[in-house]
């Protein structure tokens, strides 16, 4: 066991570069990071069946050059968005105007009811919940579908990118501020500090709460990102053990383990989508109602 681990550890630590062969960690990180190339590799050889170089659109914004060219993650985000719209459209078509859902409309309606009853109505009052339901539902389905698309071969998980999760968290942050200001006006900033705090502690608490607002958002972003990417990295490394150790016998252990992790990923996607939506609703609700 120890003897088997030694080459693995050394390979991971040093990248095991030799004769232009990419190491296992190179392959793994290449799969989970964003890039300008989408390539479909043959499952049986090292041949690349299809290689698509994405265009680069440099744009000057406020003195900085921003590349607006779509990357791998952007393309798969669009793909997941299209799949989501198609799914919703098919569900609505199957259902029609009938009060009783049928077919895949059941799935979508179950989730909608869950988000409404278990997430929105438990964290906000009825009126606020109605206003923020579209955002919560879209966030939930966006996370589920973009991570779900990433589970298929040759695809990428767009929500496993810090920029994407950061943007989602930023949208929640913007809605938190909007909810606070629209429900409480400027009193929102006064009510940041819970009532009952001694007057001497007030400035300190205010700073802490203000910082807390940003850490909440940051945690939202990091949590989603890390959960989405950790599963992929672990699955790749478990499969990579076969090549690191260099014996096909390892596959007997690592392939079932990878399949188990893959199934775990499905659960994690659903749980993380729930947690992101729940926490967003909680934060928005806390901003909307003084406490």
């Amino acid at each position: 066991m120890i003897a088997a681990l030694v080459p693995l550890v050394s390979a991971l630590a040093l990248g095991a570069e030799g004769a232009g062969q990419p190491s296992v960690s190179d392959v793994v990180f290449e799969h989970v990071t964003d890039s300008r190339v989408i390539e479909i590799q043959s499952p049986f050889s090292k041949d690349v069946l299809l290689e698509w170089h994405l265009p680069s659109w440099p744009v000057q914004i406020a003195g900085h050059t921003v590349d607006l060219g779509p990357t791998k993650h952007v393309v798969f985000m669009w793909l997941s968005g299209l799949v989501l719209i198609l799914f919703a459209w098919l569900a609505m078509r199957a259902r029609g105007k009938s009060l009783v859902p049928k077919g895949i409309a059941n799935v979508i309606e179950m989730v909608v009811l869950f988000v409404r009853d278990e997430i929105a109505l438990k964290t906000m009052d009825e009126h606020t919940a109605e206003a923020y339901m579209p955002y919560l539902l879209t966030a939930f389905f966006f996370i589920v579908f973009s991570a779900g698309v990433g589970l298929f071969p040759w695809t990428a998980t767009s929500v496993g990118n810090l920029a994407v999760t950061g943007t989602l968290a930023l949208l929640t942050f913007v809605l938190m501020q909007f909810a606070g200001l629209s429900h409480q006006g400027l009193g929102y900033f006064v009510h940041l500090v819970p009532s009952g705090v001694p007057i001497l502690l007030w400035p300190l608490m205010f700073v802490i709460e203000l910082l807390g607002m940003f850490t909440k958002t940051f945690a939202l972003c990091i949590r989603l990102f890390a959960n989405m990417i950790a599963g992929h990295i672990v699955i790749f490394f478990v499969l990579g053990l076969i090549f690191l150790i260099g014996s096909p016998l390892v596959a007997v252990a690592s392939v079932p383990f990878a399949v188990g992790l893959y199934l775990l990923e499905i659960i994690i996607i659903l749980i993380q989508a729930y947690i992101f939506t729940m926490l967003s609703a909680l934060f928005i609700g806390m901003s909307a109602h003084a406490h």
Partner: protein
């Protein structure tokens, strides 16, 4: 060390991606709100309203039915009470009538009895008077036969006997 470069990329935030995420998310939000969320939430609300209405209607129907049942039951009880009352009253009336009849017949019988008794009394008195006359005449005759015309003044003697008979004790006369 290629992997470290990739790993550093892992934590990088590209502004282009942020922009595209915002655009994609907002487009999804608008499209899905129109295609799915609004209609689904509307239908769900409508269905809940329908179910609520149905439950409410059933509850109301049940209440109405039970009220009706109560009313019927009350009506039945009243009817039963009325009929019992009527029977009781009829019985009482019959009893009164019977007692009236009995009383009347008893009175008639008593009247009849009284009248009969009176008649008997009268007849008895008449018979006594007649008997008294006969006895007086008989006594005079016997006395005349015994004395043989000693008594000239018959009328005076008759008065004498009559007075004697009348002076007899009353009890003996009544008996």
């Amino acid at each position: 060390m290629l992997s470290v470069i990739f790993a550093a990329d892992l934590m990088a935030v590209q502004p282009g991606l942020v922009l595209w995420t915002v655009v994609t998310f907002v487009v999804l939000l608008v499209v899905l709100s129109k295609v799915a969320w609004k209609p689904i939430l509307h239908l769900v609300e409508e269905r809940e309203k329908t179910i609520h209405g149905a439950i409410e209607g059933a509850r109301k129907d049940r209440e109405a039915a039970s009220a009706l049942l109560e009313e019927q039951r009350a009506l039945l009880a009243t009817a039963r009470k009325d009929s019992a009352e009527a029977v009781r009253k009829a019985l009482a009336d019959a009893e009164v009538a019977r007692q009236d009849l009995v009383a009347k017949s008893r009175k008639e019988a008593e009247d009849l009895l009284a009248r009969a008794r009176q008649q008997i009394e009268e007849d008895k008195a008449k018979a006594q008077a007649e008997l008294r006359g006969v006895v007086v005449d008989l006594a005079i005759e016997v006395a005349a036969k015994v004395l043989g015309d000693h008594l000239a003044d018959a009328t005076r003697q008759r008065a004498l006997y009559e007075q004697y008979v009348n002076d007899l004790p009353r009890e003996r006369r009544a008996g």
